[in-house]
Amino acid sequence: MIARLLSGDLPRSRSLAVALALIVLGLAAAPFVFPGTRSLNVAAKVAVFILLVASYDLLLGYTGIVSFAHTMFFGIGGYGVAIAAAKLGPTWWNLALGVVAALALALALAFAIGLLSLRVRAIFFAMITLAVASFFQILASQLSAFTGGEDGLNFRLPELLRNRLTAYYAVFLIALALFLVLLRVVNSPFGRVLLAVRENEFRAEALGYRTVIYRTIANCLGALLATAAGVLYAIWLRYTGPDTTLSFAIMIDLLLMVVIGGMGTMYGAAIGATLFVIAQNYLQDLMKLAADATSGVPMLPALLHPDRWLLWLGTLFIVCVYYFPAGIVGRLRAR
C-alpha cells in the first residue's frame, strides 16, 4: 500500500524514512501539536515549499536544466488567485477562474521559453529564464492597478476557507497529493527518460528519444506545479505580493533547498524545504544569541548577525555542490 502510494520509490534508508515520517506526521498534526499562529504559518510554508522545491527538483535534479524563472510561475499562481479574488469577488467560481487562468498563462510561458531556448544548452536556458523572470518581476510592480504594485494584494476567500484550520488542511492535503503525483511522474517511464537525458543526452537521442520534447514537457510540468504551489501559498496567506512570491531571494532559497536536501530525489526536496524553512524562522533567533554573545570580538558579530544567515547557507551550498552533490538524502542513503 505504502509502496504503491510512493510509486515504488521507497526511502531506502532507515533514518531517511524516520525523517520523512516525522515531516508528514508533524505537518498532519501541526495545528494540534504546535498551536500558535507562528508555528502554523511555518507548517503551511513548509507544506507549500516542499511542493515548490519538488517541482523545481524535477527540472534541476531530474532533467538537469537550471531555470531561474521558477518563482515567476510561483508568482503567477499567487497573482492568479489574488487578482481573481480581489477584483472579481471571493466566490468559488472566481477562485477557479483565477487558478485556470494562472495555469494557462504558466503553461504558455513555459512552452514559449522552452521553445526559444531549450534546444540549445543549459547555460542559455538559465540566462534567458533569468531575464524573463526579472522582466516579469518589474511588470508585476509596474502594473499596480492590477497587481497592487509593491504593496501586493490582500483578498478575501470563500466562506469555507476563511477558517484557518480548514485552510491549513486544504493546503496540506493538496500539497501532499501533488507531491505524490510528482513522485509518480519521476518513477514512470517518462521519468526514466528524463534521467537518461540528464546523464547522456547524446545517447538518449541515439536511442530514439526526442530529448527536446522530453525537456519541454518536464519544463511545462514543473511550471504548472510551481503555479499550483503559488495558488496554495496565496490561499494560505490571503495575500500575494512581490516579496512573498516573485523575488529573486526566493529563487535563491529554492536553489539552496534543492541542493542541500539532495538533487535528483524528491525526498531531498522534502528534507531540504523543511530544514530550510525551519532554519529561516528559528535559526535567526539562534544567530542573534550568538551575535550578542560575541559582541566584544571584532567582525564576528557582523558575521553572525541574523540577517547574514544566507552567508552561511551559501557557503554550505557551495560545499554541497562540490562534495555532496546528492545532498542530505544522498548521505543518508550512502550509509
Partner: protein
C-alpha cells in the same frame, strides 16, 4: 564573422538611431538621448565584455560576475568617500586625484576577487555547466553577504566629483558631462581590447582559443594561463564598470551587480555568446533602445530589452556575431 565583414548589425544600430529621430520633439532631445544611450551602452559593454570572453574561451559562464561589479563599486566608492575634499573641489586635477585611485582600487579588488574565484570556485567544475551555474550562483550569494558584512546593508549615496556634475550645451542640446566621459572611456576600452585581440600575439591566441581550444593546446600553448589572465582582466573590467555605474546612479547597493547582470545577459545573448564585437554592438543597441523607448513610451521601456532579444534571436538564433564553437 567580424565587425568588418558583416556590417548588417552596425547598420541596424544606425537605422534605429535614425528611425528614432522623427519620433522626437526636437533634434536636441535626440542628441541628448543618443548620448545617454551610448553612455549606458558603453558602461554595459565594459561590464559584459569580460564575461563573454571568458565564456568564449573556456566555456565557463560565471553568474558571480555581478558580485565583481558590486565589489568594484564598493571599493571605488570607499576611496571616493574618504577623499571627499578632493572630489568636492571644482578643479579637474584634484578630482582626478580622487577618481584615478578609486578606479584603480575598484579594478584591483575586483581583479583579485576574480583570481581567487577562478582558482577556488570555478576550476573544479570546468566542463560541467550545471555545476558551474550552481557554484557561481552560490559564490554570488556569499559575495553579496560579505559586502553586507564589510560595508553594511544600507544603500550608500555617492555624489559625483564636482567637475563631472552638470551638463554641457551643444547648441540647444544639453549633454551630461559624466555621460560624455562614459562614452570616451567605453570607446577607449573597446579600442584597447580590439588592439590587443587583433594586433598582439596574446590576442591571436585568445581568438584562436575561442575558435578551437584543443587545437591551440595541441600547438603547445598553455591556454589555461591565458584563460586565467582573461578571467582576471574581465573581473577587473567588471570592477571598472561597477564604479562607473555607481557614479552614474550616484548610489550603490550590494544587489546592484545582480540587477545589471540581467541586462548583461541579454546583451551577451544578443551579441552571440563569446563574441566581443557582438557584445559591443549588443550593448549599444540595448542602451540606445532603452533611452529612446523610455522617452517615447515609458510603459514599454520595461519590455524593450526582452523584445529586442527575442527579435534578434528570431533573426539570428545564435546572436549577432556567433563566436567559433
Amino acid at each position: 564573422m567580424s565587425l568588418r565583414s558583416d556590417w548588417l548589425p552596425l547598420a541596424l544600430l544606425a537605422a534605429i538611431a535614425i528611425a528614432a529621430l522623427p519620433l522626437m520633439p526636437s533634434a536636441p532631445t535626440w542628441i541628448t538621448l543618443t548620448i545617454a544611450g551610448l553612455a549606458m551602452g558603453m558602461m554595459i559593454f565594459i561590464m559584459a565584455s569580460g564575461l563573454t570572453l571568458v565564456f568564449g574561451l573556456m566555456d565557463v559562464m560565471n553568474f558571480a560576475h555581478g558580485a565583481f561589479i558590486s565589489v568594484g563599486a564598493y571599493a571605488g566608492a570607499s576611496v571616493l568617500l574618504t577623499m571627499k575634499s578632493a572630489t568636492r573641489a571644482s578643479s579637474l586635477a584634484s578630482n582626478l586625484a580622487a577618481i584615478v585611485p578609486a578606479v584603480l582600487a575598484a579594478m584591483a579588488l575586483a581583479g583579485a576577487l576574480g583570481w581567487f574565484f577562478e582558482r577556488v570556485v570555478v576550476r573544479p567544475v570546468y566542463g560541467d555547466h550545471l555545476k558551474q551555474i550552481l557554484v557561481t550562483t552560490g559564490g554570488l550569494i556569499v559575495c553579496e553577504e560579505l559586502i553586507h558584512v564589510v560595508w553594511g546593508p544600507d544603500l550608500i549615496a555617492l555624489p559625483r566629483p564636482a567637475t563631472l556634475t552638470g551638463s554641457v550645451l551643444f547648441g540647444d542640446a544639453a549633454v551630461e558631462r559624466y555621460r560624455m566621459l562614459a562614452v570616451f572611456v567605453g570607446l577607449g576600452v573597446f579600442a584597447a581590447m580590439w588592439l590587443v585581440l587583433n594586433r598582439t600575439k596574446i590576442g591571436l591566441l585568445i581568438r584562436a582559443g575561442v575558435e578551437n581550444t584543443e587545437m591551440v593546446e595541441a600547438l603547445g600553448y598553455r591556454i589555461r594561463r591565458i584563460f586565467v589572465a582573461v578571467f582576471i582582466t574581465g573581473s577587473a573590467l567588471a570592477g571598472l564598470g561597477g564604479i562607473m555605474w555607481a557614479m552614474y546612479q550616484e548610489s550603490l547597493t550590494a544587489a546592484m551587480g545582480m540587477q545589471v547582470m540581467v541586462v548583461i545577459f541579454i546583451v551577451i545573448i544578443i551579441g552571440g555568446l563569446g563574441s566581443v564585437g557582438g557584445c559591443f554592438v549588443g550593448a549599444l543597441l540595448v542602451g540606445l533602445l532603452a533611452n529612446y523607448i523610455g522617452y517615447v513610451a515609458p510603459k514599454l521601456a520595461l519590455g524593450s530589452n526582452i523584445l529586442l532579444m527575442v527579435l534578434i534571436l528570431l533573426w539570428r538564433p545564435r546572436g549577432l556575431y556567433p563566436a567559433g564553437k
